[in-house]
């Protein structure tokens, strides 16, 4: 057996490390984007900075454990800066965020090196380390110490605040928040959950700065806590929001300017005995509170505001624009290889199922005992089928991940580019919760990134240019995803200058992509499709954004490899929209089995509109292409036997069939010899040695050891319907490379 060969335990642990680190880095990127969003609106979310700090802290520990020294060094320096940010010693600015984003990029590259790809980004890391170090040098004091004194706060309490808590207290006061003192008594047995519950209730309304045991309680089984909270909300609102037994909420009053400098008695204050016992009790609480805030990466997050980002949250679908980039995907991490193996098992189960069904079919109709046996077998088969269906859908679900995983990375790219260049771009994402097969998500990142870079580089105009044509100064790129039947549609739409067909044609002619005469014959759609031709780039000079020798042809190739298609529409002056249509999953598909010659082929039903008997009298040949008249409309047809060079066989019925397939809005009829039936199949990719063979999406086993090839409808439609001249060019280019 070759499968699962002898892997070392160390390798496994290392893989775990890599995937965990990758996950942390991805999360880091999301948090930074949210910080960036907040910063644009003048807000700094302290909890987010804490999350970032925790993630970096964990990364430091992980990388130390696995001897990834460069990563550990970077994490160490970052941790210092983040600690300064957290404590308000350094102010969060777009420049600081740039460094943090840079760190995310470098983490990614270091991880790639750790898994054996790419080169060590040593100089970049060194540069960033120096920059981070300088940042720490420049740090200022927290400032605003005076503001705290304006409040009637107990000096005993102020004395035991950690540096972080003190900073938060100051920051909240400076933001004009009111301070509240919450007194609550908990039973010792339920304090953990009750406190969490209270925190959850309080969190939407403000920030809990600290909580300390008061040292008093009605009896030895209860604990009384004093909670200091900052909030914008009024007292009445808080009282109605934070409810529960034994809770009292009071506002901490500002001292009047004339007030004496010593703390006046506070109405809601506990008995004097409690007051005195506060100091000793605070020693322990001080420690626990610092652990709570900064050092515990495992602290459960219960931020209710994140709930809307959860996939499938009811009633949230319409709030697309407000959808948080930060997807709280509470999914179990599963190694894709494990899933693949599971899929293999399911595939075999499906084969067994077919075999049982065949057996039942054969046994039926012989002697009575055999018939009874057949009934029994058929019953078994029904049960088996039901379980199999459940198993298949369960496994499919495990493979599905929200597209947000790919979108997050794009948001980072957009931010980076729009900061590096004079173009201001707002990325609007809708449908990040749309789910698609994990494999597809992984493969989508690069094509999408390229499309977005292309949109920024060629589509979005500069600020001045936009103002001249009365457009909003900030360009918008919309990234929309939604499910449509068995497909997922992703649109990349910009409100830039659009594509000029005349200019495209002129360039195409100038580059020799098409001749003058051919250019005249191209329809508007075909003109736009020229941008997908290998080597086609509309900028005179390649920019570092998109024109790096590779063009949209790579995007197209990658998408078709996933069984999808790219379409493009553009209005000059208004914008360009590229639409990707993809199958939801690569794994199990419903197919139509057809016979061509003596061979079986499978056509995915997702692409099939209908199958009809071929009426030869309705076939005409137009420009060398066969066209069938179906219900008064023309349908180009392609006889697969001829296309594939499959030898014909003698048949009782001479009649052929046409399977009408559609991808995007292109239709084509495939001529086949016989329709065999429908079946659910597990599609498997053809091996590396067949990677260059076009026209097949993979193959599947049919249950009797026979293998049927699965037709790649999108690729064949493309191949057959591509204009003759572009087809010629494509082969010429390929030939030139070889």
């Amino acid at each position: 057996m070759v499968e699962g060969g002898g892997r070392e335990g160390g390798d496994k642990a290392r893989d775990e490390f890599l995937s965990e680190a990758q996950e942390l880095v991805d999360g880091l990127g999301r948090d930074l984007l949210q910080l960036d969003e907040g910063l644009k609106r003048g807000r700094v979310d302290a909890e987010l900075i804490n999350d970032v700090f925790r993630a970096v802290h964990t990364l430091k520990g992980l990388s130390g454990l696995f001897g990834a020294t460069r990563m550990a060094g970077l994490s160490h320096e970052l941790e210092d800066v983040l600690d300064d940010l957290r404590l308000g010693r350094v102010e969060l600015s777009p420049g600081v965020l740039d460094m943090l984003f840079q760190a995310v990029t470098l983490y990614g590259r270091i991880l790639a090196v750790e898994s054996g790809e790419g080169e060590e980004p040593a100089p970049e890391v060194e540069q960033l380390l120096v920059a981070l170090g300088e940042l720490s040098q420049r740090r200022a004091g927290g400032g605003g110490a005076g503001v705290v004194a304006q409040y009637e706060l107990d000096p005993g309490l102020l004395g035991v605040l950690t540096e972080y808590e003190e900073h938060r207290l100051r920051a909240n006061i400076q933001q004009g928040q009111s301070l509240y003192r919450i007194r609550v008594r908990f039973s010792l047995s339920t304090i953990d959950s009750a406190l969490d519950d209270l925190k959850a209730k309080a969190r939407p309304h403000g920030e809990i700065i600290t909580y300390l045991p008061t040292g008093s309680g009605a009896d030895i089984d209860t604990v009384e806590l004093e909670i200091l909270m900052a909030s914008r909300a009024g007292l009445e609102l808080l009282r109605s929001a934070i409810t529960g037994p034994n809770i009292g909420i009071e506002q901490v009053r500002r001292r009047s300017p004339a007030a004496p400098s010593f703390p006046p008695p506070i109405q809601t204050s506990p008995p004097p005995a409690v007051r005195e016992s506060l100091a000793p009790a605070s020693v322990t609480s001080r420690e626990t509170s610092s652990v709570r805030v900064g050092r515990d990466p495992a602290e459960p997050k219960q931020t209710p505001s994140l709930v809307p980002a959860l996939p499938k949250a009811p009633g949230q679908a319409g709030a697309g624009r407000e959808l948080s980039l930060r997807s709280v995907s509470q999914t179990v991490r599963v190694d894709i290889r494990k899933l693949d193996r599971l899929m293999t098992v399911v595939g075999e189960l499906a084969i067994v199922k077919t075999a049982i069904a065949n057996l039942a079919e054969r046994a039926r109709g012989r002697v009575v005992e055999a018939r009874e046996l057949a009934v029994e077998l058929a019953r078994l088969n029904r049960t088996f089928e039901r379980h199999l269906a459940q198993m298949q859908s369960g496994i499919l679900e495990v493979r599905m991940v929200p597209l947000g995983q790919a979108f997050d990375k794009l948001a980072r790219v957009v931010r980076q580019i729009s900061r590096e260049h004079a173009k201001e771009v707002n990325l609007v994402i809708t449908g990040a919760e749309t789910e698609i097969d994990k494999l597809i998500v992984e493969e989508l990142s690069d094509p999408l990134m390229h499309m977005i870079r292309n949109a920024i580089d060629h589509g979005i105009e500069t600020r001045d240019e936009r103002l001249r044509v009365a457009k909003p100064p900030v360009g918008t790129i919309a990234l929309n995803a939604f499910q449509k039947g068995n497909h997922v549609v992703i649109e990349v739409e910009d409100d830039g200058r659009g594509m000029d067909p005349e200019a495209l044609l002129a360039i195409a002619v100038q580059r020799g992509v098409v001749t003058q005469e051919e250019a005249r014959e191209l329809g508007p759609r075909e003109v736009l499709a020229l941008v997908f031709m290998p080597g086609f780039t509309t900028k005179e000079i390649a920019t570092d954004l998109s024109g790096r020798g590779v063009g949209l042809d790579v995007v197209k190739t990658n998408i078709s490899r996933l069984g999808g298609v790219v379409d493009i529409t553009s209005d000059l002056g208004i914008g360009t929209k590229m639409t990707i249509t993809l199958p939801i999953t690569l794994a199990i598909i419903h197919v139509l089995l057809v016979e061509i010659g003596a061979r079986l082929f499978a056509i995915p039903l997702a692409n099939v509109d209908e199958a009809i008997a071929l009426d030869e009298t309705q076939v005409r040949t137009v420009e060398g292409r066969e066209v069938l008249t179906v219900r008064g409309a023309s349908l180009p047809i392609c006889r697969l036997g001829r296309l594939f060079g499959v030898p014909a066989v003698e048949r009782e019925r001479a009649r052929e069939f046409v399977v009408i397939a559609q991808v995007g809005n292109r239709r084509l009829g495939f001529g086949v010899d016989e329709l065999v039936g429908q079946q659910d199949i597990v599609i498997k990719p053809l091996g590396k040695s067949l990677a260059k063979v076009r026209g097949f999406a993979g193959a599947t086993e049919l249950g009797d050891q026979r293998v049927a090839l699965v037709i790649d409808v999108a690729a064949l439609i493309e191949e057959v319907l591509a204009p003759a001249e572009t087809r010629y060019l494509a082969t010429a280019v390929e030939g030139g490379r070889a």
Binding site: M1, V2, G347, F644, S689, L690, V693, Q705, V707, L709
Partner: protein, 164 residues
Amino acid sequence: MAALVKARSEKRAVRRAGDGGRRVEYLAFVLAGETYAVQLAHVAEIRRPPPITEVPRAPATVLGVISVRGRLVTVLDLRRRFSLPEAPIDRKTRVLLADAGGGELIGLLVDEVQQVWRLSAEEIEPSSVLGGEQAAHIAGIGRPAHAQGSILILLDLRPILESP
């Protein structure tokens, strides 16, 4: 009797291993009358050929695809690969499953599988003894010391798997 022979041959194997240093196991098979051999470690499995599904537009050396326990395996015809005359599949024909890297298996169609040879370094001549330029897939010539007259064409599978 059989047990005795086995015991004796094992003893001999131990002695050979003692004098010849490290020995490598080769699986010998026949193609158009010649004996070829590949390192046994590279062969995952030997199978009788199942029905092979031809793949239109595939390179000429690709016979088609088969399914092995739910895995799709591309089968290469080694006769075509080495420009030998074609022969029909018969009851001696076998498919060697070789690991092509990346978890992929490739099937190699051969006329007949013979036996496993344990060869020491002294029993292997470099391919340069054949003179001139040799195809990249020829790793050397095996001359088992205790079987005078046997010649094994030792194959390096990597070039074959990389460019069928």
